[in-house]
Amino acid sequence: MHPAPTPTPTRPASDPITIDGVTLGSRLIMGTGGISSLTVLEEALLASGTDLTTVAMRRYSPEMGNSLFTLLERNDIRILPNTAGCYTARDALLTAELGREALETDWVKLEVIADEQTLLPDAVELVDATETLANKGFKVFAYTSDDPVVAARLEDVGATAVMPLGAPIGTGLGILNPHNIELITSRAQVPVVLDAGLGTASEAALAMELGCDAVLLASAVTRAQDPVAMAHAMRLAVQAGRLAAGAGRIPVRRHALASSPVDGLIDAVTQQEAAEVPRGDWPQMSRS
């Protein structure tokens, strides 16, 4: 139903990313929240092609058991536990330690939020928690705002990856400040993952075009009317954006530049054009 993308003859459909010595075949990191059916979730994850997926750490319930854990395990998808719901560095540390123990990974998506209404990262607590966790051997994937200064601080205190938001979690507003995302990617020495706020595939492609190394999303897929189709769209968008980012786009110009040759026009056309030349005296405009 959702065929794998076709590689172009000279380039692979996707190029892998290596984080903390681990190579991931896909640059699309998925979340698992926002969908009630584990069957549809599994189909969507497979359609997305993801190799890394986030989970929350919550109380074990006899009804659910460890069904999500076994789902990810049987599909060979690496698990990235998050610290969703934590407000302080102290909360985040306990949750990260539980994730490490339960899932046997020292990777953690560090979320330290300020309040329930905005779910925005609390930058002060986040920098503190990143330093604490990094010093305890965790590989911290820090979910942060789109502030380039905070992103740099996170890198300084030992973040393994910085994950700026495009827009607040679950809003589907896309990338509200592309300029800031580009500033972050232009100076970062660690992988940059656009995390949160995306609504549709073009925004995932934009994230990659802005220089992000990967995209993390959940709601855009899990709350879509057809999660499996949207997952596949996101997979292609991330690949398209990555390819485009490395392809050297043309500069933006205000006036047209003919892509057909001017030489060799037949007489009838050149005579007609000569009569119409005075129409073309637009003022000079240029960007950059």
Partner: protein, 79 residues
Amino acid sequence: MHTLTLNGAAHDVAPGSRLIDLIAEVTTRSLNTDGTPEDGGRLGVAVAVDATVVPRSQWHATELTDGQNVEIITAMQGG
């Protein structure tokens, strides 16, 4: 009987029970003394007693006492 709090609810255990017995009961898996499942799979849970993580290697050696707060945690859906 000892009464402790398990994932927010009161739970009785026989005196002398160890943490590993409780985890085996809750997850309905038989566990080796090192905390790994006897079926060779992975358990995917972590345990905190009174807000401190107890590594699986210590589950067997940890005796449960009255009034303890035990949290058994696993992966759930989330962003």
